[in-house]
């Protein structure tokens, strides 16, 4: 059995038994595994400078020992103090006692940080992300992103269903773009009716994408982000942009194209928030969203 201190746990999955007691190994990667519990995923990684919005980080040697032993669909038991992996090599046990709960929940700013967002936008635009993302920069893509930022001729369902699950990999580019986009719109607290509809379309069409992407999108719609995006959120909140280049680069470096896609979503979100016409602002519907079945 392995007994160790868990380094960090995202506030989204705290308490760890909130989704149930028995989960299954969903997916296994070189540096992380996902556990499915009910409809939810819990990511267990060993990253030094990154914590998934639905994840926890544990020491690398312990994670590797688990990765070496576990197989897909094997059972994981959650208790308040331990995780038990029932693997083909025996039972591996991780202590959750003394773990750090890391808050990754963002809240809408009371004031629109226009200057800071413009600065971020400027940096992102210089990076020409539309040429670095995992989707082809074709006319359809241009049309949809134009709609997302200008709201002209906008058909939310069409945009969302086009982006959901579009691109390769476990987190297709379209989903990362959506996550970044939602992050900004939630953060600025503008266009709430629009955002509410947008999120509703995402939730209704989650079957279009992968399980892992689904987990990110569900977190995103509830205002949970990964630790790198959360750092950006903190900087914006504190009007402290002295490390903004480093922070944005850190987001850009996530995954193969995920960081670029996410950043491009942020770019689109900033553009949208700067362009939001007065008519689109409305009451905050977050309460309604959170009470929706399944969340």
């Amino acid at each position: 059995m392995i007994n160790s201190h868990v380094v960090q746990i995202s506030s989204y999955i705290n308490p760890i038994t909130k989704f149930g007691k028995i989960g299954k190994i969903h997916s296994i990667f070189t540096h992380s595994i996902n556990i499915q519990i009910g409809y939810h995923l819990v990511n267990i990684g060993c990253f030094e400078n990154y914590l998934s919005c639905f994840g926890m980080n544990i020491p690398e040697n312990i994670l590797q020992s688990i990765i070496h032993s576990v197989g897909k669909n094997e059972i994981v038991k959650f208790s308040n103090d331990y995780l038990y992996f029932y693997t083909k090599d025996g039972i591996k046990k991780i202590s959750l006692v003394d773990s750090n709960i890391v808050d990754l929940k963002i809240n809408a700013f009371s004031q629109f940080p226009k200057a800071e967002l413009k600065k971020v936008l400027k940096i992102l635009e210089r990076k020409k992300l539309d040429q670095r993302i995992g989707l082809p920069n074709n006319s359809l893509f241009k049309t949809f992103t134009e709609e997302m930022t200008t709201f002209k001729n906008l058909n939310i369902e069409q945009v969302v269903t086009w982006l959901l699950g579009r691109g390769k990999g476990l987190t297709p580019s379209g989903d990362d773009i959506l996550c970044g986009y939602i992050f900004i719109l939630l953060l600025v607290g503008k266009a709430t009716n629009y955002l509410s509809n947008f999120i509703e379309q995402i939730i209704s069409n989650l079957s279009l994408t992968t399980d892992v992407s689904k987990a990110y999108l569900i977190c995103a719609t509830q205002g949970y982000v990964n630790s790198k995006v959360y750092q950006l959120y903190e900087s914006l909140k504190n009007h402290d942009l002295k490390n903004i280049d480093r922070e944005l680069n850190s987001i850009l470096n996530i995954g193969h194209t995920s960081g670029n896609d996410l950043s491009y979503g942020i770019e689109l979100g900033i553009l949208a928030s700067l362009n939001t016409p007065e008519s689109m602002k409305g009451a905050n519907n977050e309460k309604r969203r959170r009470s929706r079945k399944g969340f």
Partner: protein
Amino acid sequence: MLKTVILKDNYQDSINLMLLTNKINELADVEMSQIMMGTEANKDILANTGLLTEKAKTASPNDLMVVVRSDDNEVMDKVLPTVQSFLEDLSTKKTESDEDTVAVDNWDDALKALPDANLALFSIPGEYGAPEMEKALKHNLNVFSFTDNVSIEDEVKLKKLAHKKGLLMMGPDCGTGVISSIPLAFTNVVSPGNIGIVGASGTGIQEVTTIIDRLGNGVIHAIGTGGRDLSNEVDAITVKDAIAALEDHEPTDVICVISKPPAKKVRDEVMQILESCDKPVVADFLGERPTHYEGNVYLAHTLEETAKIAVDLAAGKEVKKNYFEKVELPANVKTLAEDKTIKGLYSGGTLANEAGMLISEALDLGHLTKEKGYILKTEGYDVIDLGDDVYTQGKPHPMIDPEVRINKMREYCQDPHTGVILLDVVLGYGASDDMAGALIPVIDEEIDKAEKAGRPLYFVATVVGTNKDPQNYDETVERLKEHGVLVEKSNAKAVQLALKLKGIQISEPDKTNIPYTGKKIALPTVSNEVKELLATKPRVINIGINSFTDSIIKYGGKTVQFNWKPRANGNKRMIKLLDALEKYDDKIDADNEKVIQRFKDAKPFLTDVVPAKTVIPELNTEHKTLLHAGPPITYTEMTGPMQGSCVGAAIFEGWAKDEIEARKLLENGEISLMPCHSVHAVGPMGGITSGNMPVVIVENRLDNTRAYCTLNEGIGKVLRFGAYSQEVIDRLVWMRDVLGPVLSKALKKTEDGLNLNVLIARSITMGDEFHQRNIAASANFLCSIAPLISELDISEKDRYDVIKFLADTDQFFLNIMMATGKSIADAARKYQKGTIVTAMARNGRDFGIRIAGMGDQWFKAPVNTPKGLYFAGFSEDDANPDIGDSSITETVGVGGMAMVAAPGVTRFVGAGGFEDALRISNSMEKINTTHNPNWSIPTWDFKGTNLGIDIRKVVETGIEPIINTGIAHKKPGVGQIGAGTVKAPIACFEKALEAYAKTLGIEVD
């Protein structure tokens, strides 16, 4: 047509080439092939099989000849790449299980091979089970006994011992188990999870674990206890210990207990223990119909309910009042008429019991039947447990062999009252690879017949398995459904559907929780051994069925295969003899020591080569006499090759001018026959020796015992294999007139002859074992004799011919070794006491042995036919039964006894490698008394060769001496067709033991 390719200067070992030839012969378009070095002898072999092409004739001895007979003009395009890839990698290929499993045949070696073993898995016959299990427990091993037919007295004794020692005794008759997620014996592959099971029922465990798996949870341990554990006699010793162990095992959150109907007193005791657990418990005492959950214990009615409650508890969910799920009839299925009944044909006993119980309850049929094989036999409703002894005596279990069930299905389907055939299909390790596939044709046939007869007939089945099982659950279900079988997800549901087809809807009442008001007690203490067993992957000594190691290896356990054999192969008469002889052990051991010392003290010297008649008076009489190999035999009893040799010898001696004349003399008894062994001689293969044949003289200077053997003729068409053509006679004449005299003259130039101990010791370090392989010894002999020959005053032609012949004849030393062996054995057996083997010889009909204590008496049994590699065009069907005195080499500890010295030789019996050679020598060590320090084997850590085959050890272990041998064609004149190994029949040793015991006044009925 014949195709030939010569690969120039490409020397390859002959054994590899024989293996390669076999491989090429397997190619689709190859009719026959032969791949050999281009020596003259090999060309003779090609000629014998019609494969000697003009091109092959041009090959030099260093060229590789590839000759293929095929209708395909382009056949070499397929053959040559195969030849090339074979020759590029000649290493012995090991299978995964070869590397993962070590095989042993005794407890000491098993414990040495797996020093951290913590579990012994038994599947040996019940009559031998108890003492072996006792040994396992005494070695501090937990026991899992698949073995059945152990008396209840023995079961109680073993379980008490296990409990006292803090070990778990699972079984006897424990068919199923999972320890730390490793499936043991007949078991399904289920996910590990936080549920632990204790089960006094095999298929009960299988049904519950597989449903749990399919519901998405898993089982970490399923501890089988054997069906009698909850009897009054056994008093649930294992069930109680296992419950305590699971309560103690932290990753287990829920405990399930499954039992066939228990004894009342024992049930109450077990319930008290269960109520005393802190963990929630689900209990299914089959046959009971619980109305409530009590305290900590959730009592279930069916196996399915047991699994479902366990899964909810394991997930921390509240237990429901009712787990019953109604099944629906498929849309186009109608209920059956009043006169139709249900017939349950089960391979699993517990499933049959459950079906019987549910049908009986639904129809209010009263108690289940006690009639053998039947669980229910009332009002036309039959449920049969086809695993009952009634059906399995002398036959495999119906989970393995579908025959009994198929016959019953056919029988019942003929009955117009049969409306439903209820079946279980059990998957998993140990079960049939494809039970569904075996049943489906019969199901199709019977449904078709019923349809044609205009009567309804339904097959309802439950499949016990998971998708991780080798047979795959989903695929099995799908296949059965495709053939019209109504498959349900549990046995209980299958029975419910069957009843529904009869228009009967069963249900389960809600259960309420009532508090436990009894006294709670302290659970039995859990020993460190049991804690360790449940906390780690088991390390298993598998005693019995080899395939039980498969699942252990596959799922991460460690195992050693113990190829257990009963003492003396279970021969009760021999066991009595061995027991009776035990009190004479000291005396026999002392006698044997004296004989063996004479073996060790032997000083064999090659002193001369002379015409046989000059040293064997029996060949120097007016009466025509021939010597032959093996125990005494008449001409008519001889097999073809030996008869052919007699013919050849008669022609050689000038007694007959041709075969017809020779045969007439032999058939008329005008030529006397006697064993070589009777006159201090030995002869290879046919062993036929006549007066004018030159023989080597080997003198054992321990006491000047002399022994004789003819000279080796090389390979191909030779007299010893029964050939008698002119070239054979011509060679014999040359050997008489030139080779013999030249060698004699050369040896006379030495002072004392050639010291053979030295020559043998040197050659064994160079890879010879002196029976199948004598290359080094023949070369060393040539090194010793060539300088002497060079000094002789003889013609240059003779000098060249002799040296060339010796250089070409790899096996020349074999005959010298045989005479050496004979001189050593004959000197040793002058001390006529004890049980050491002093001769082993074969005449093609009998294998005979002599032992020191019985003098010249032969103990014979029918000889075996060798197993080995055959030259192209020949197979075991062509082989003559084993023949020759060359097994004198094994008698003195070389040949098959020293396989490890020449591992290449093992390839004659398959693709054996060094490990096989080592295994053989190690195995032979078990029937020998000691080692011969004169002949040390480098590849055996310089251990001396085996020495002193003791008939007591052979009989005790059942290990038969292995003889390396050439293989003769059964027809005279064809000659050698292969080489291989053969076992000395155990019956010789048993007869010798019986006769020897008689000399001590021991006789058994």
